[in-house]
């Protein structure tokens, strides 16, 4: 059996609520993601799915439980080592794109090379631009791109370092059906090429593109799934 890309075991996370109360966002969540798997994580707003994504990405330390990326226990590492694991194995795609506003499309795609120098970064970025149909937009700032183009740039950026795991938080939330389809297609292709995708979405059509769908409720993932 090949090594799991992501393993989340018995993970819980609480936040401080109003007037000293505690909000249990994630409760004893267990989740495994194998290479080539495209998993969608659904559920109503506030059910804790985005928190699971951030925990999986090494950005939100859980109160309990363990998270492993390709066998590396994320939260037993120091901050710098965790950052290095993110740079090496992970790619992020967000609903709000989070493009750097003063960088053109090409430079935005190249941004991850700041963390992990890549010998062929520019060639790969140019290749990604072409794959995503953005070759003529390489110098355009995000403000000059359509939302669909912006999300494509964000996805190309996430793919620059050839990650093992893509973490996508509502990647189609701001897109029209045509652009959403394009993005989902790219995610499926990535998984088809051996990568793993964990996509948070409450869009049924998006969830249908995944190879496995999980629904969260009140911070839990029902065992039956």
């Amino acid at each position: 059996m090949s090594e799991l890309t992501l393993r989340i075991a018995n993970t819980s996370k609480s936040y401080a609520g109003p007037e000293g109360s505690t909000v249990e966002a994630v409760r004893e969540v267990n989740l495994d993601l194998a290479p080539g798997e495209f998993m969608s994580l659904g559920g109503p707003s506030g059910c804790g799915k985005s928190s699971v994504l951030l925990i999986a990405g090494g950005l939100l330390r859980p109160d309990e439980g363990e998270v492993e990326i390709l066998g590396n226990n994320l939260y037993r590492q120091k901050g710098a080592q965790r950052a290095a694991i993110r740079a090496k194995y992970l790619g992020f795609v967000f609903q709000q794109f989070h493009l750097v506003p003063y960088l053109g499309a090409l430079d935005n795609i190249l941004a991850p090379s700041l963390a992990q120098p890549l010998p062929d970064a520019t060639e790969r970025a140019m290749d990604l631009l072409e794959q995503f149909g953005l070759s003529d937009r390489r110098g355009h700032l995000p403000s000059a791109l359509s939302v669909g183009e912006q999300q494509r740039v964000a996805l190309a950026r996430a793919l620059l370092t050839k990650p093992k795991l893509l973490l996508a938080d509502e990647p189609t939330g701001n897109l029209d059906p045509e652009n959403a389809e394009g993005i989902l297609e790219r995610l499926a292709t990535f998984a088809g090429e051996g990568g793993s995708v964990l996509m948070v979405t409450h869009d049924k059509r998006a969830a249908e593109r995944a190879t496995r769908s999980i629904r969260m409720e009140k911070g839990r993932i029902p065992i039956a799934q």
């Binding site: 985005s50 951030l54 990405g57 950005l59 939100l60 901050g79 710098a80 950052a83 290095a84 694991i85 993110r86 740079a87 090496k88 992970l90 992020f92 967000f94 709000q96 989070h98 493009l99 750097v100 506003p101 003063y102 960088l103 430079d107 190249l110 941004a111 991850p112 090379s113 700041l114 963390a115 992990q116 970064a121 700032l141 950026r157």
Partner: protein
């Protein structure tokens, strides 16, 4: 992609924010340069003023040397036409004794003075008979020189002249400096001398000669006290003069013709008179030069005090300007990082370290400082020509040595001001940022 490119592209994108920060730093550096220029101009003006005063003092000293020489020549020429003083001593008086003791031991009749005055003598202008003895003041246990004088004997065939020396009235005495000082006597006091009561008519100031231990009294009372009634031991002939080259010889011959056997010697040479005149002139000039030097020293002290005061004021002002600028730069950095929260969050999510984020923010702060300092220095160089006149000729080039210090310290200060907001931004929790966004 590298940190430098990220910094440059961000600056190009947020030009206004960068320009505001650069303008803030430039204002601080301008204040620093202005203070340096003002203090430099002050120092230059001080040097100019002191140079002018020193040159004036040098000129005065040169003039003094030249004038002294001219004055000495003038005095020498004038002295040729002036009279000199002689003493006439009794016949048979040994002059070596006079030189040793300062007065004659032998006496001559007081009438000699009258004889001389009534003669047709032409070489003498004033005649002063006197009786001098060195003795012990019995009541005070002090050795004194007692001189009895009667004032000038008018020369019969001349118009009366203003007397050179006033006589002492009967019943009164005049005391030399050392006597009245050591005995605590003052003008108007009474004192007893050799059994007789006298009132002190006058107390002389210090002369540094035997006059300081001398008592002057009326000749007649002196003759009575010494038992030398009608006798004197010297006649002082003042302002003697004649047209011939051997003036003393001529006077001697004339006096010998009237008072045979008397001895005539010259006192107080012309050279001495010249030296006195020269010393007086020298003293006056030296006083003037000393006053000038004192004025220069006072000016230097005033200017140094003024500079210290200016320096203190400027330092306080500069500190305030730099402090306000640093706070403002910190605020601008804080504002910049707030605008870049999303960018910082995603960069952190990509695995870019806190150190790299900090390097991006601090690199920008360094460039703010460098641009602010550079801009001010360039402006200062461009304005240096126009400012030169109003700065007493102060050359801005003289501050060139400080340029490397400014170009290093200002970016360092800019980084210091940016450090806290940059550190806070770099350490912000990316999960919180991304979730909130």
């Amino acid at each position: 992609m590298n940190v430098g490119r990220l910094i440059i592209l961000e600056i190009m994108h947020r030009k206004l924010g960068f320009a505001l920060a650069v303008a803030t730093v430039a204002t601080s550096v301008a204040a620093l340069v202005a203070v340096a220029i003002l203090l430099g101009a002050h120092d230059l003006r001080t040097t100019q003023m002191l140079d002018e005063m020193n040159a004036e003092t040098d000129r005065m000293e040169e003039n003094f040397t030249r004038e002294m020489k001219a004055y000495e020549d003038g005095v020498r020429k004038t002295m040729k036409g002036l009279g000199f003083n002689v003493f006439i001593f009794p016949e048979g008086q040994e002059l070596d004794e006079v030189y040793a003791e300062g007065f004659a031991s032998k006496t001559m009749p007081e009438t000699y003075a009258n004889t001389l005055a009534e003669s047709k003598i032409v070489t003498v202008n004033h005649l002063l008979p006197s009786l001098t003895r060195k003795l012990k003041w019995p009541e005070r246990e002090r050795t004194v020189i007692l001189i009895g004088i009667r004032g000038e004997v008018p020369i019969a065939h001349r118009d009366p002249k203003k007397p050179l020396i006033d006589p002492v009235s009967k019943g009164q005495i005049v005391l030399g400096y050392e006597l009245h000082r050591s005995l605590g006597l003052q003008e108007g006091n009474s004192t007893t001398f050799m059994g007789l009561d006298f009132t002190i008519e006058k107390c002389h100031s210090e002369r540094g000669t035997k006059d300081d231990v001398t008592i002057w009294m009326h000749l007649e009372e002196c003759q009575e006290l010494l038992g030398e009634k009608g006798r004197i031991n010297a006649i002082k002939a003042l302002e003697c003069n004649c047209a011939s080259i051997d003036r003393l010889g001529e006077i001697r011959r004339e006096i010998a013709a009237i008072l045979p056997g008397t001895k005539v010697i010259e006192t107080e040479s012309k050279a001495l008179a010249r030296a006195e005149a020269r010393n007086k002139a020298k003293k006056l000039s030296q006083t003037a030069i000393a006053a000038k030097k004192n004025e220069t020293a006072n000016l230097r002290a005033d200017r140094e005090r003024l500079r210290l005061e200016d320096e203190q004021k400027y330092t306080a002002l500069l500190t305030a300007v730099i402090l306000v600028s640093m706070i403002w730069v910190a605020f601008l950095v804080f504002s910049n990082t707030r605008d870049r929260q999303s960018e910082i969050g995603i960069l952190r999510a990509m695995g870019i370290s806190t150190g790299s984020i900090l390097a991006v923010l601090m690199g920008r702060a360094f460039l703010v400082g460098l641009a602010g300092a550079g801009l001010t220095l360039i402006l200062a160089i461009l304005l240096s020509g126009a400012l030169r006149e109003s700065l007493h000729g102060f050359e801005l080039q003289s501050l060139v040595g400080y340029v490397p210090i400014v170009l290093l310290s200002v970016p360092a200060l800019s980084c210091a001001a940016s450090w806290l907001p940059a550190l806070q931004a770099a350490n912000r929790d990316p999960a919180t940022i991304l979730r909130n966004e």
